[in-house]
Point group: C2
Chain length 324, copies 2
């Protein structure tokens, strides 16, 4: 039994990383130690209430397994797809990931089910918190995190504070446009970086290259498959990532001029393949920004892998609850 | 003599708006009242020290004229072209406006000459301070100011605080790119909004339209001339501003996704002509941003005219000196 460990710190939190496909959750100590964790399919076709029930059962099962005294848990932190209202704890518009949960008061529901205060922020914002807490941005006060996956999200820490903006939606960096006459985006704009460098855009680029080269794809192409092809030495896959890196570099150039960060962190599912595009981002940004903005600037890959969201949700809960 | 007025408030400041062409300066009271002001040509070909002498003489002349007791002046505020180091009070890289003053420790020099603490920030940042203090952004905590002139500058107030970033150069919004394959910019990037919507770009657009229409320009074209032509009903001038507005709208779309402001203020010399492009900015932004980011968003023209920089420099001094 490791109840002693659980009681030793300055409290514990329940942390939830709500994704369109999977929900990861766990119990996290104030130093960032994950006491126990698990995950289950989110099944967004069901009601939010049913999901909350499963969350509650899972958190208590982990607690039982690890001998955690529920009294030492001070809060619940949730990272979820935006747009959302962090202030009101509501998923205002979680399309396309969770269209049925539009308007779901997730904090109130979790708080009622679990008996602890619950705090919500969007997944890219909690990613920024986790990078600053335990990741590559540790100690940096001016951090931009780009989460590259199905979509592209952004989390910005400016002078030590997470940037929320007027309605809580600052840092929607997937919708920085790199071409005002580019393809149309779901947000209404054109040429958003999300259309050039998300997982789907990467797959589409690779598919076109295969076609042009007269090669046939083996089965369904995924971003992971493009990465594996690059790892196996496929030049078309490498060229695909180089193009992704070029486009990301152009967007990061605008982002650097906007926020003047010390650290830009590339995270999310696509970060796995970063060795094939990080160099390109760095060289484009070096070429495309004022030298004053390059002073001390670093562009790095997240070291936290798929625990980033869980740890960020934990950090959110600790900060909100004043737990440290 | 109005010395009584000068002593009535909670102190006065000396405010300096340093431009590449003219220097405006004055004595400002804590409520924003300008006690006295004047301006002189900056003459950037001379030394910084010679300019400081003229500043000192001019401020003392205003003080003498208005009967101001120098003991009630608590600080000096300066707005100047960036990039600069606000923290160190140094003009690090004021190219192309003041190339000879690169590295000039302007705060130390002014402070020594005037015997008061001096505070520096870039012209677009002090513009944001003045808009929030006395302008159209009064009471807003999330404000973006775009200064449209020879170049395009940006000042960002996020959750009540002026955003500086890691090296003090956040908000370089003239270098938000709207086309990653667009024309080359002095910053090293391509397609920066400054290349599409500054005063010079406006003149260039109008010149091309005249050429295409087989019309001859009468004398040298200036942005003010394009404005006057629009006022006189010239459809080519109006179409020029509509294009400027379209490009600005595309950039503001990215800016809104980045910062989620409540208020975007269009300021600077070009703002005079805003009636010919503000509607276009608004409609492009409405079309090109997520609805969550449009909640409460306003896009307005600065009401402060050419006193904006002076008032912003005053505000900077009052804030830094804790004068209010």
């Amino acid at each position: 039994m490791n109840g002693g460990r659980a009681e030793a710190g300055s409290g514990l939190v329940w942390a939830i990383d709500l994704g369109g496909t999977n929900t990861k959750l766990g119990i996290v100590a104030a130093g960032g130690e994950v006491i126990g964790e698990e995950s289950f399919p989110t099944r967004p076709e069901r009601s939010g209430g049913s999901w909350v029930e499963e969350v509650g059962a899972a958190l208590r099962a982990i607690g039982g397994r690890e001998g955690v005294d529920e009294g030492s848990v001070c809060a619940v932190g949730i990272g979820a797809p935006g747009p959302l209202s962090a202030k009101e704890g509501v998923l205002t518009n979680p399309v396309p990931n969770l269209p049925k949960w539009r308007g779901f008061a997730i904090c109130a529901a979790l708080s009622e089910r679990l008996g602890k205060p619950a705090y919500l922020d969007n997944d890219a914002n909690v990613a920024a918190l986790s990078e600053q807490w335990l990741g590559v941005a540790k100690g940096s006060e001016n951090v931009v995190v780009l989460t590259l996956g199905t979509g592209i999200g952004g989390g910005v820490i400016a002078e030590g504070r997470l940037l929320h903006g007027f309605s809580g939606n600052a840092g929607e960096l997937g919708h920085i446009s790199i071409d005002h006459d580019g393809p149309e985006c779901a947000c209404g704009s054109r040429g958003c970086i999300e259309l050039y460098a998300s997982a789907g855009a990467t797959v589409e680029r690779y598919r076109r290259k295969l076609e042009e080269a007269g090669r046939e794809a083996e089965g369904e192409i995924t971003a992971e498959g493009v990465f594996e092809a690059a790892e196996a030495g496929d030049e078309l896959a490498k060229a695909t990532f180089a193009e992704v890196g070029y486009c990301l570099g152009a967007a990061v150039g605008s982002i650097v001029h906007a926020f003047n960060p010390e650290m830009v962190v590339v995270a999310g599912g696509m970060a796995e393949a970063a060795r094939y595009f990080l160099g390109m981002i760095r060289s484009v940004v070096k070429e495309r920004t004022y030298s004053d903005l390059q002073v001390g600037l670093r562009i790095e890959v997240s070291p936290l892998g798929d625990r980033m969201g869980l740890l960020g949700a934990a950090r959110l809960a600790f900060m909100a609850a004043g737990g440290e």
